[in-house]
Symmetry: C2
Subunit: 235 residues, 2 copies
Amino acid sequence: MNNDPDPLPSELEVLRSSSMSQVIYKEIEKIILGGTLGPGEKLNEKALAERFGVSRGPVREAFQALHARGLVEMIPNRGAFIQRITKHDAVEIYDVRAGVFGTACRLLAERIDNATLADLNALLARMDAVAAKRDLDAYYPLNIEFHSTIVKSCGNATLASIYFDLVGRLHLFRARGLVHGGGFESSNAEHRAIVEALDDRDPQAAFEAAYTHVQLGKRRVMVSGDGPQSNASTT
Amino acid sequence: MNNDPDPLPSELEVLRSSSMSQVIYKEIEKIILGGTLGPGEKLNEKALAERFGVSRGPVREAFQALHARGLVEMIPNRGAFIQRITKHDAVEIYDVRAGVFGTACRLLAERIDNATLADLNALLARMDAVAAKRDLDAYYPLNIEFHSTIVKSCGNATLASIYFDLVGRLHLFRARGLVHGGGFESSNAEHRAIVEALDDRDPQAAFEAAYTHVQLGKRRVMVSGDGPQSNASTT
DNA sequence: GAATTGCGAATTGTTGACAATCAATATTTT
DNA sequence: AAAATATTGATTGTCAACAATTCGCAATTC
């Protein structure tokens, strides 16, 4: 009868109660990708359930979804652990990401409008500016926005979903490490090559430029640190 | 005390009880991809639980995993339904699959050995043989094996997983329909172009051949039937 | 002193029960 | 009779409890 019996919606009770496990999913995903709990660490069912104010059921359901997405490792009778990414895994993910991102550019080259092109060129200019100042903290989000803009603009939601999945998994690899500069001028040069191919509406060239860019980004990350403790933004 | 109290292990009690939900996952996946229960149909928790002899918990966990993989649609307070794939969705999936399969060929071109090449050439010959006889039932599994061999040989398990995921989702689109012949001579010609590029160890050419092949396969499927009631094997 | 064995606590896997929601039918009203 | 409304049945969402397994630590053994 009365509207909103709960005085404080508290962000967790806003959504329908039915999608509770999906809310928990998003929350745990935040914990994992936020890096507050490194790879290999255990996810305690009871602790998480109490933290979110629910029972263990929804938490377990979220675990299964996270496992299917490759963010969580399930060991029988042991529980859920944040997925451990080996260097070999990271190489694999980078290679797939190169192909997926290249495909995004290829598709985008066939449909890009001038507004999107202007956005990308603006990002290029801003990245050049911060690169000249060696401001890596400013470069990082711009770099992400550049790639995201392309992927979101290519008109393929399935591709975008897979792409961001891969990016998330890579976050596990380079979780919470220092950033290695060096080579983000060349990184932006590669960005410019991509935009030029898009401007030419040349799908093959766009793919090649994008694929090569990610591959070079992989090398930049791999040479900087062998273990999963290096963060690199110049991809 | 006595070993194996259950007279019939029945394939469901063989594995550890802990991975029960994952066994249920595989079983429901079989139901979905097997086509005995078309897209949009409802998956009843209680009925499935009784069928597998477990409670609803593991079934719900399996639902979440299937949802994360894009095989099941979850509607709040309504339950789980086999994912409905629109024509637009199918186009998206085909485009991503083209890029992923192309990437597999690109990677394979850099590492293929003569044994794998011989396998692929043998498959080409067998496909030519059955294509000459217009034996579509024989062509279909060979075609699948050809693509699977490439994907499994490219040395990237992450890519393979994503690829087979996409193939599974496409199965939902063309579930339980008649097969449209026409164009599977050209399909095998495209296969041959892929193998030739692999033989040349030419990554770019391999990608282009593979990408084009899937794109043409998409067109062959799309022109044959607008709705989700057409099965096409010549991809 | 090092390795092994044997508890006890904690955690996971599963279940059955209860509350909430939805679909479908029956009933009432206009 | 048609539309709107109430009621019933079924299904989903959530929870708390129980069984089984694992982990940590102490006691024992070699």
